[in-house]
Symmetry: D2
Subunit: 334 residues, 4 copies
Amino acid sequence: MKAALIEEKGGDFIVKDIDKPTPNENEVLIKVEACGICHSDNFVKAGAFPGIEYPRVPGHEVVGIIEETGKSVNNWKIGQRVGVGWHGGHCFECESCRRGDFINCQNGKISGISYDGGYAEYMTAPKEAVANVPEELSSVDAAPLLCAGITVYNALRNSGIRAGDLVAVQGIGGLGHLAIQYASKMGMRTVAISTSDSKKELAKELGAHHFINTEKQDASEELQKLGGAKLILATAPHSDAISSVVDGLGIDGKLLMVAATGEPIEVSPMQLLMGRKSAAGWPSGTAMDSEDTLNFSAMTGTKPMIEEYPLEKVNEAFERMMNNKARFRVVLKP
Amino acid sequence: MKAALIEEKGGDFIVKDIDKPTPNENEVLIKVEACGICHSDNFVKAGAFPGIEYPRVPGHEVVGIIEETGKSVNNWKIGQRVGVGWHGGHCFECESCRRGDFINCQNGKISGISYDGGYAEYMTAPKEAVANVPEELSSVDAAPLLCAGITVYNALRNSGIRAGDLVAVQGIGGLGHLAIQYASKMGMRTVAISTSDSKKELAKELGAHHFINTEKQDASEELQKLGGAKLILATAPHSDAISSVVDGLGIDGKLLMVAATGEPIEVSPMQLLMGRKSAAGWPSGTAMDSEDTLNFSAMTGTKPMIEEYPLEKVNEAFERMMNNKARFRVVLKP
Amino acid sequence: MKAALIEEKGGDFIVKDIDKPTPNENEVLIKVEACGICHSDNFVKAGAFPGIEYPRVPGHEVVGIIEETGKSVNNWKIGQRVGVGWHGGHCFECESCRRGDFINCQNGKISGISYDGGYAEYMTAPKEAVANVPEELSSVDAAPLLCAGITVYNALRNSGIRAGDLVAVQGIGGLGHLAIQYASKMGMRTVAISTSDSKKELAKELGAHHFINTEKQDASEELQKLGGAKLILATAPHSDAISSVVDGLGIDGKLLMVAATGEPIEVSPMQLLMGRKSAAGWPSGTAMDSEDTLNFSAMTGTKPMIEEYPLEKVNEAFERMMNNKARFRVVLKP
Amino acid sequence: MKAALIEEKGGDFIVKDIDKPTPNENEVLIKVEACGICHSDNFVKAGAFPGIEYPRVPGHEVVGIIEETGKSVNNWKIGQRVGVGWHGGHCFECESCRRGDFINCQNGKISGISYDGGYAEYMTAPKEAVANVPEELSSVDAAPLLCAGITVYNALRNSGIRAGDLVAVQGIGGLGHLAIQYASKMGMRTVAISTSDSKKELAKELGAHHFINTEKQDASEELQKLGGAKLILATAPHSDAISSVVDGLGIDGKLLMVAATGEPIEVSPMQLLMGRKSAAGWPSGTAMDSEDTLNFSAMTGTKPMIEEYPLEKVNEAFERMMNNKARFRVVLKP
Ligand SMILES: [Zn+2]
Ligand SMILES: [Zn+2]
Ligand SMILES: [Zn+2]
Ligand SMILES: [Zn+2]
Ligand SMILES: [Zn+2]
Ligand SMILES: [Zn+2]
Ligand SMILES: [Zn+2]
Ligand SMILES: [Zn+2]
């Protein structure tokens, strides 16, 4: 089968024929129909994740058709269309797993990092990493929802906000353009925060009720004029920008960060104490969370904005994604 | 009547005779029996709070007997023993008040800052700032519970922890020595974190199950060995020390800060994202929260460790408190 | 001024001229623009509420313009358009009020029952019972939202449901037709449950994704086919019908009842224990909840279906409402 | 090995030698040290559970030492002391399992019902049904905590109560005498409700702050005098008695039922609506919940009151338990 793989840390993608994988007893074999490119795929290219073994096929926004199931797999059927996201499997034995908190599995696997992912014609995945895809969604539209989508949908629905609350989405990119749609479809008074007016019209189309351009306006002040945000969803990994909106939180307001960066944000006890505020993080979700994300998206008509590329053009597609030129996600078709 | 007052920013306490106050229609007149000294009383001495008018009598940990009630006061009776804490009244008209969230009143008053407090033989207080004191508690024991006590009790009970959870109290001082008692009486597996072994024995007596000396041990590592903290209650305003325990949080762990300082703590999105962690602040409580604090303390036998001083020795008493020599709260008796 | 009043228990409405009321220091005077008729207004006609004094002007779905404010009223301005709902004021002194839980005030007043309401050209209301009306809503549309609307909006947003959950609305009447709109605009997978197909098309237009006709289908079975309801909002006071849907609850499902009836429902510990289910009640809300309801309605375009009547035709209008002939709320215009 | 088994529906226990079981790849073999008798064991004797196959060895309060582990078991070690409770395993594949909500597994197994339990010298259990037992607890003391204990501990800690709340425990039996201890050790103001004064002294010793004798007093009235219960934990399956305490709930009060009976309780929408009350059920817990229960019990010194019997006297022991003569749990030792 054809696959796009990285052969060594720092290398480019090589598209070549490799053996079609065989599922073990707890796995399914998926014929890939679409695979989104995610910034985190760069972990494989850059070798920036501990313990990556090469060659490796990246890809954790995968949608395809089950072609074969392992002998201990009872909950998936051949022919079923399914997806695989970032959470690539868990051990069922560690304390987190025993608590049913699979996302925090101490031995968790990541699709396309711990094992070969979706930049290929076929991939295998553990049965616990697989999500059903509702028929209303096309495969290319569903793919990015399995990482970009689930991250913000799951963060939003578990954040404690109530319909009608003021919710700000900081950053209008791969995650942000989905978060704006989700927030407004959840009945939130939605504020889009961006660094230029170029995305203002788009933000309104996606459902934003208000738009703040941080080049011209102080985001914290503007949020306070609107009553103070109950939630600010920070979708981009820029700690300076995140720090600058903390004072836009209203009473009981929460700053929720979904983009991983190790650079500290600047926040003081005093800032949080007055008004009982908090800063928190959220880490995507499991395969069931993916199903919930896909179902909600299908029901509400939420779709990612995507650019499609054939697998052969993976290097070009990948560059476009990494340089933030894409609006807003790039999807490979094998 | 006798009162200890600050006549100008930076001045010492002067004990002198001033007019006994008269309650307005919504106030009660309280004959003071005990008044705790709090670090925040230094706002008055240092002039560090916006808009303080001098002379000013500080004191927001007040217990006494109602001697007179204003004509619109129906819920307090002459002869009733009551307390007044930091939250000194609210406007009933702002949005927070209309939501019943009095602690966030946009026009809130602070006892002993917005108006004269309890370093005196008498004080008046708005009826909404007054809490009933259960008979099981002596006045000197009850007084510090109205600020130091309520702050940590209310933070703990509203933090989402469940009985059996690992809860760390950082700092064993005025707030911390109460927090350890409360946490253990709430059924929490309680960890005391201190900077020396000198308080180890005391911590165990107060109910701590574990003790960490940060001079010798890495607090975060030790907490992880115990499973990771569901809650770390940071009771002292030292942002460096607070930052150093963030990695001691377990899954869904929360760092809860109750001591106000404007100095930023150091925490990154990545630290919070893995394990769904959060950092949050909590601001004491209302008069009803004070009642709950006092009732819980009476039921469980929780008492502050105090040193008593006559009102005349206010300057000496205040110095002892400010220099952290007291174990752990100082209470004035008029 | 003109008012429609009940002069004695069981009497009809008499429209006549009475003195225009004068607000006391904590009240506002409102020139009524619209007043919805609610089934609960029958308490006045039937004398079915303890302690009603006659003559009494009913009406607790009132929208109008402030014409005068009492001298202690600082948060309302003359000329401002406001509304008054069921919750007609509170005492600020009882334990519930001191906790900020005004709806449970032990001395609470009810508009149009404890004092004269909105079936008139003018009414007075305590300042704490008044809600701002956003300009996007017409007065006749806003009026029913102050009782029918707030009850279901507030119940829904505080029920713990998350966007995407399966939410059933039982009964498509005054409350139900609003609940369907709110639920779907909150991103819920919304099921309308009715007793005939006659409202099926309407239900879909209001936003329902599914429709169950209990004449032809077993509602519990149908809900289970859809995965089991996280929430069933029972909007009509029919305990038999309510009991029949309990088994339609999914895991962690909640039956939430907003229509008051003293007739027991039938539910066993076993039914609730399996799947951690619950049955609960919800009692409308305060003036701030009304504001939230109106703002959410304005933002999402939610409107009641109404029939307008001049105040003079109050008896006809009232009959129409009581006999459930109206689709779905009747609004009087003075 | 020796085992006490039921050979047919309605039969007595026969103690005889049967083959020692062999663990499959996902199971452990446990040398039983103690096994509590539970009312639910009667399901086996009476044949009152669908699908029971005979002969069957009951027993779902089992503590013992692991003697062998299946080849896919990595989280348990030979020689480790462990326990097995009611929840006897799950499928990992159904929707509930995929959500991590194992207790609601659609293919869940029950120890001693789906497979042979702990009335024997040895038993096997799936690895996911096994809990570690802390060394502070003896095996006979730990055994009843795996069903009676977990049920009430888990119900209490997940009920939303906060330390200091008024919590009533209805029924002082196997579950109730543990619930009183847990509630008071969680810092709850604990009320014991019983049908006679004979258990008054005991209730106080177990930690109850108040005692209500329903023969002499109206429980609802008494609870209201104490402020109204935030939680009433109904531990006995008597729907009449349960119904009689509903009006003892305070604001936001919850009636939580842990004893399974199909007989309806009597509760009306009106009763729940005023004060936002609820009635709910709770179904024990998983192996991790058992571990939490055991750890909390060890930390707080909570123990069941038990009577020990040798396995040979199983019929006598069982009768004593079924007739409610035991104080309060009976434990078999093989
Ligand atoms: Zn794991
Ligand atoms: Zn990704
Ligand atoms: Zn203080
Ligand atoms: Zn205010
Ligand atoms: Zn009404
Ligand atoms: Zn009140
Ligand atoms: Zn299952
Ligand atoms: Zn049992």
